[in-house]
Amino acid sequence: MRAFWAIIRKELLEFLRSYGLLIVVLYSFTLDVYIAGNGINLDARNVSVGIVDYSPGFISNKMLSDLHYPQFQEPVFFASQERLNLAIRNKEIMVGIVFESDFEKRFHTGNNPVLNLLLDSTASAQSYLALNYIQHILMRFQDTLSLAPIEIQIHKLFNPNTSYSYFMALAELLSIITLLAVILTAAVFVKEKENGTWDIMLLMPTDAKAVILAKSLSQVIIVMIGTIVCVGTVLFGIFDLPINGSLAAFMLLTFFYAFTSAGIGLFIASVARNIMQIAQLSVIIMMPLIFLSGAWTPVYAMHPILEYLSIISPLRYYIQGSESIFFRGTALIDLWEYFAGVIVLGGVMFWYGFRKIGKLF
């Protein structure tokens, strides 16, 4: 036990003294998460609109007054459709609205009025969203004329204002935990190989299992501290992220998950000879795992084969579990699936990595 704690102490000391690494890790847990939460916004906001109004009148004015911040920028008027087209091609305008000259007349006479929309669909998501906004505006507008008698009451649960910061910041934190737990764990072993202390380590009368376990745990501790810092300062402090479930459950899940990632790190360390190879291997192993986790596309929307494959991605359970804890406020008892997934898969991965690196001892 004395040796076990000595190793943890030593690894933490060495980590604190390697300033470059310390800064990178701190950066990842704070600024990087902040930038991701702050910068990435998939919503259609501030959409640039260009108008060609061949039939200025009450309707077009009424409609245009509904295109406003935050969804739309102040509309820009163009004299002709050609001009508008050019602006769209140059990506200055994303949505073009053309009121034909007979638009107002047709509307008043009830003769199939048509509103022409031109959408730059290179950004397909936003243009689709923009289209929906305009549809919505149109509906509301006609609703005031009592034409459409239906009301759709939308309740968005857990995140009523559709804040992207919440989601992106949490997603980034989860990726950072994954990447760092893998890379740091692999690096503590490979650094010994590079510095020539590997042999000395092998010659210590300490049980190899204790050495591997202590080294892994030391990096898990670093990741856990980073997580606490990130949750405390960035998630709660800056983004004011609400947590609907139990924070303790999240930390526990993270702890198990960090060990899972450490297991992957052990495997990489058993194969890699230098830091460069760690960098290469971790990218090649981690990207598919992240892909299969459902972080980008929900698992149920994947190709059936991939959907089955995703069952073996521990990240899948971790991400779903964490989202459930933070956003859905899932009851503890209902989290068992995620815990089971992380612990079982993590157990297997850690055991495998442990055995692989154990062979080098």
């Binding site: 991701a36 048509v114 239906i150 939308i154 989601f167 090649i284 892909f291 929307a301």
Partner: protein, 371 residues
Amino acid sequence: MRIGVIKAYFKKELLDIYRSKLILMVYIMPSMLLILFGYGIKTEVTHTRTLIIDNDQSKVSYDLVSTFEHSKYFNSDVKNLSENRALNLIKQDKKDLIIIIPEAFEKHLLKGLKTSVGVYIDGSFPSRAKTIENYVNGVIYDAIMKRSGSEVDRALITINARNLFNQSLRDEDMIVPGVIGLVLLIAPAVLSALLIVKEKENGTIFNFYSSSVKKIEFLAAKILPVLLLHGINIFILFLWAIYLFGVPFRGSFLLYTFSSFIYIIISLSVGLLVSIITSSQIVAYVLTLIVTIIPGFLYSGMLMPISSMEGESVIEAHIYPVMYYTHILYDVFLVGDGLSASKNLLYLLILVGYAIILLGIGSLLLKKRIA
């Protein structure tokens, strides 16, 4: 400049990249990133797990339910549950969407009275929630429109929307060119940073310090292999885009090739700048990733159009060269205006300017001596 010196370094670099297996990273990573992102980033939401509670059980409500059941966007389940139990299903992440059709839905509609449909969406994944919301709106309105009497119908404004450049709103068409812009930023930067820092770390940089090899020769020798190796990636990525993802190619292949080579020069200059301030490979690697990935993502226009940006991000987007390149990329893949559009020409010139300036700064800062 002596060709012999450059040739010698060039040959050495290629041999070293090949024998140290760095070549795997050069060719696996870009394609892997493209394929994973190309398949992985989906803005379209399909198979939304939907629960419909039909409290009306009328013809109109059946019609509405069947519209949902026949849409690829929804995997609908019709059950009679209490609202609370239904909501609990969302909490447990078993359902994403719950639609509650009220009693007397049909009756109200026929009488022209106001009626409301309750919709609950899991908002944990905001963009997904937003998209689902729009789908639901669309489906319900459509269903009502179809049903409503001809009198009202003809008075309604219909929308004639034309999706320019990407008629079918394919995610691939939008994501893949952006990812090419991202990959060709990261990969050459990493490689060029490593090629120089590796010599610093191993000590072989002394061969440059202590010989009469000129700075410009050394730079050329470091740049050419990266340009050549990743130049091949320009075509590999192109083939993936066209044949695997079925992205159309409407513009000039020459413009694509030329601007891509210029862009590679820019990104390898970024790597060069990183290599000047770092002395160990791991730090150079991580630093290059930090300065390329996040801005590359943000300013590629892939996730968020530059025109929708506000405040300082607009300025940042214009400072970072990735925006100019992806603009040209979207043009050659989806638009096809080529250099006839003045903006494309302007952006190409800006790229050339960036290449010259960054390379210039890099060669100025590169010192032929121990720090």
